[in-house]
């Protein structure tokens, strides 16, 4: 599976707030790398950076550079962002939706319940970490 993890998943996986499913998902993706592809846009990396001291962010980069592919934001076509804005998302959230579609991801994993969860016409699934773990288990 090709997955996009939202910034909240990274923070929860690293221990900010108690979120066992996010931790379990990250552990699994880390130990099963090669089976799944993880990508993230520069914007999400920036959000992680903003919310950690430099000393921690440095360790995060060391960890993810081996198994997460980082894309530059400018790769995503403007028109695709507009499509998600028309769905009622704020521009920045619309960008994340557009990015997820642009890279052809199977799912966007997020704990943000406001994020497109009521849409059934998307080219990707919006899953919580818990739901994603169930999907991965079913595919085994």
């Amino acid at each position: 599976m090709l997955l996009i993890l939202d910034s909240n998943e990274y923070l929860f996986a690293f221990g900010v707030a108690q979120r066992p499913a996010s931790r379990a998902l990250f552990d699994r993706l880390l130990t099963e790398r090669g089976l799944h592809q993880i990508r993230l846009p520069r914007l999400i990396l920036g959000e992680i950076q903003r919310n950690f001291p430099a000393s921690i962010f440095r360790e995060v980069v060391k960890l993810i550079q081996d198994f997460v592919h980082v894309d530059e934001d400018f790769l995503v076509p403007f028109e695709l962002g507009s499509k998600y804005e028309q769905m009622g998302l704020k521009a920045a959230d619309a960008f994340i939706g557009a990015y997820t579609e642009f890279v052809g991801a199977d799912a966007l994993v997020t704990e943000n319940r406001h994020f497109l969860t009521r849409r059934s016409d998307l080219p990707f699934r919006v899953l919580t970490a818990e739901q994603c773990l169930r999907v991965l288990e079913a595919k085994k």
């Binding site: 914007l43 920036g46 959000e47 919310n51 001291p53 960890l63 934001d73 521009a91 960008f95 704990e111």
Partner: protein
């Protein structure tokens, strides 16, 4: 080879979790909802900064 690589990665992850647990963080001890709200604010600020830099 894969096992060793996984062990190394899990060690790095454990180090990050220890640093987050012990280090200074404005997000520590916040609820899940507060963390999500904070991240949404961060996203908005970064996006506005990006737009401002592109419109110069």
């Amino acid at each position: 080879m894969t096992r060793r690589r996984n062990e190394k990665a899990m060690e790095k992850l454990a180090k990050i979790r220890r640093l987050v647990r012990e280090g200074p963080s404005s997000l520590r001890n916040r609820s899940e909802e507060e963390v999500i709200r904070r991240l949404r604010e961060t996203r908005q600020k970064l996006w506005e900064a990006k737009l401002a830099s592109h419109s110069r």
